[in-house]
Amino acid sequence: MEIIEKIKTNKLVENQTEIQKICLDKLQSSPLPNPKSELWRLSDKSKFSTFLDYSVNEKDLKFDTPYPKNSQNTIRLIIGENCQIKLIEDNYSIQQLSEHELDKYIKDQISCFDQNENWSDLLNLSLSCKKNILGLKINGSKIPPIEIFSHASCNSLNAKTLVILLEKNCDIQLLQVNLGKDNSSLSQSTFFFLEENSTLTHGVVSYGKNGSNLLNSLNVIQQKNSKYNLGSLHFKFNYARFEINIKQSEGNAKTNIKGMQITKKDEQISTYTKINFNGPNGFLDQINKSLADDKSHAIFEGSIIVPKIAQKTDASQLSRNLLLSDLAQIDTKPQLEIIADDVKCKHGATISQLNEEELFYMRTRGITLAEASKLQLSSYFQEIISFIPVSKDRWDLLDKILNEN
C-alpha cells in the first residue's frame, strides 16, 4: 500500500496544512488501525487494502454523474466545487466558518481522537486539502433544506470534510449524499455541533458504482435540549464503513437514528455506532437494518455508553437483518455499557429471511414471486427511507435499491 509508505515517510501530501501535519504525525507511529480491535476485526483486509490502493487526488475531475434536478427552495453545495456561501436573511443565516474557527474546531476534535476509533477521521484530515473542507455555521429558523454532495473520482482516493455548527434554537433539514465512481475510494468525515435547543434532521445517502469504496465517519456533539435525527442508507459499495460517533455532552438531548445498509455480490458494508451519554435524561431510539444478498457481508456493531452521570437515560437499539442468500453473511452486535443505575435501556437483534407465508399469500393473489419479493422488500425499506429528509422522492431511492444489481 503506497499510501502507508507515504504516511511513514511523511510524503503523503505536499504543502501540508497545520491540521494535516498534526494528523499525519499521529498516524506515522501506527499508520494502520489495529486489525484485532473490535472496530476493525471483521473488516475485509483485502477490500480495505483496495481502498488504500488508489492514489490521492486533491483535484477533482469533472464529475459527470447527473444530479437529480435541484428544487428551487433547496440549497445545494458540492464539497470541492462550489463551497462559497453566505446567506444572511431576516430569519436565518448560513455562513462559512472562518479559517481560524475551522482550525480551532477541528484541532479540538483531534485532541480527543483515539487511534483506532478515529482512524478514518485521522486519514481524512491528513488528506483533505483546504478546498475539500466545507465549514458552515448556521442559525435561525425556516431555513431552506440543504443538500451537500461529496463524490469520488475514478481511479483515485478523494477526501472530503464537512463541519457544521448549529447555533442555539436553529432547526435545519440536511441531506448529505456521498457518491462513488467506478474504481474509486472516498473518505468523508463529517462533524456536527448542535448548540442548545437546536434540531438537525439529517439524511445520509451513500451509493457507489462498480468497485467503489467508502470510509464515512460522522461525529456529532449535542448540547442539552438539542435533537438529532438521522436517516441513512448505504448501498452498492465494494467496501464501505459508516462510523457514527454521537456524544450528548450534557445529557437532556434526543437522538433518533434509522439506518440501513444493503449488500449484494461480494460487497462488504458495515456500520459502527457509538452513542455516549454524558449527562442525565438522554434519549436514544435507534434501528439499524441490514440486507445481505449473494455472497455479501453486512456488519453492524452498536455501542451505547451510559456512565454514572447519565441517570434517567432512555435508550433503545435494535438491529434487524434480512438474509437473502445462503452464502451471504451478517454480523450484528448491539451492546450496552451501563454504569448508571436508574436507566431504561434495551437492545436486540433479529436475523431472518423473506417471510415465506407472506410471499405465498401474495402469490395466491396472482402476484408473481419476483413482484411479491419486491413488495416485501419495499415494505422493509420504507421505514428507513421515509425517515430520510429532503427530496427523497426526487432521488427515487426505493426504485434504485429494488432495480439496481
Binding site: 407465508e357 408473481t368 415494505s379 422493509y380 420504507q382
Partner: protein, 261 residues
C-alpha cells in the same frame, strides 16, 4: 352422490391425491369434483388435512404431491405456480390472513386484480378506475374505505381480516373459491355479512368449497355436498343433512374409521 350425471365438466377435479410435507404424508388419496354452481363443505377434526388440501390446491410450495392429479377446467395444474393458479381463477381465502406491514391494502388489491384481469384479457385498471371498482365491492362486505389506506391486514380485527378476504374474492372473480374456516372468529353479525358477501359473489358458473367446523356458516350458505375428512382422506360424502348429523354426533366416530383403516 358425486357419481350422478352432470351436464357440464367439473371446474375442479381432485383425483386420488397424495401429498406430504417434510416426508410426512398428509393427504392419503383425496378425490373430489366441483361442478359449476355447486357449493361443497369440507368438515373434520383439526389436523385431518382440510387446510392442507386447500393449500395444495392453491399451490403452496411447502407441500409435495406424491401421487394423483389436480385438474382445473380440465387441465392438470400440479406443476403450476400459486400465482398462475390464482390468475387462472382459483381463490384461497385464508384461515389466518397474513399481515403485510408497509404494503398498502389498496395497492395490493390493485396489483392482484390487475394480475387476474390481465389473464382474462381485460384492460388493467389505473388507480382512479380501480378506486371506483373497489368502492362498489366494499359495499358487499360493508367495509369502510379507510381499510384501503392501511397496510394489508395490519391492525385489522379477526372479522375485518375475513371481510378483507371476501373483498379480495369479489375483486378477483374466481372460478372456484376455497374458503378455509372463513367463519372462525366471527361474531353473528360479521358471519352474516361474510355469508351474504359470498352468496352475492357466487353464481351458476362458480364453485365454492367451504372448509368449516360448524353448522352456523352452513345455516347461512346451504351446501350441495358435505364431505367429512379424517386422516388425510374424505371418508364420507352426503348432503347438507350430514352436517346436521355431525353437529349432533361430533367427530368421534371418524376416529373409529381411522383405526379400522
Amino acid at each position: 352422490m358425486q357419481s350422478q350425471m352432470k351436464e357440464s365438466d367439473p371446474i375442479l377435479e381432485v383425483k386420488n391425491l397424495f401429498a406430504s410435507t417434510n416426508n410426512l404424508p398428509i393427504l392419503k388419496g383425496v378425490s373430489l369434483a366441483v361442478y359449476p354452481g355447486e357449493i361443497h363443505a369440507i368438515m373434520g377434526r383439526n389436523g385431518c388435512g382440510k387446510s392442507t388440501l386447500s393449500k395444495i390446491i392453491a399451490g403452496h410450495p411447502s407441500y409435495n404431491i406424491t401421487d394423483g392429479d389436480i385438474k382445473f377446467s380440465g387441465e392438470n395444474i400440479n406443476a403450476l405456480e400459486p400465482e398462475e393458479r390464482s390468475q387462472a381463477g382459483i381463490f384461497l381465502g385464508f384461515q389466518y390472513p397474513i399481515e403485510i406491514p408497509g404494503v398498502s391494502n389498496l395497492e395490493f388489491l390493485r396489483v392482484s386484480t390487475n394480475a387476474r384481469r390481465k389473464f382474462l384479457n381485460k384492460e388493467e385498471l389505473d388507480t382512479f378506475d380501480f378506486e371506483e371498482l373497489v368502492k362498489e365491492k366494499l359495499e358487499l362486505v360493508k367495509m369502510d374505505q379507510a381499510f384501503l389506506s392501511r397496510s394489508v391486514n395490519q391492525g385489522f380485527s379477526g372479522g375485518e381480516k375475513k371481510r378483507n378476504e371476501i373483498l379480495q374474492m369479489a375483486l378477483l372473480e374466481p372460478k372456484i373459491a376455497i374458503l378455509d374456516e372463513t367463519d372462525s372468529g366471527l361474531d353473528i353479525d360479521a358471519l352474516r355479512i361474510v355469508a351474504s358477501g359470498i352468496k352475492k359473489i357466487s353464481n351458476a358458473q362458480t364453485g365454492i368449497i367451504l372448509i368449516t367446523h360448524y353448522q352456523r356458516l352452513l345455516d347461512e350458505i346451504e351446501p350441495n355436498y358435505v364431505h367429512v375428512m379424517a386422516d388425510g382422506q374424505i371418508i364420507k360424502t352426503g348432503g347438507s343433512d350430514l352436517a346436521l348429523e355431525l353437529e349432533k354426533k361430533g367427530y368421534e366416530w371418524t376416529d373409529n374409521f381411522v383405526k379400522e383403516t
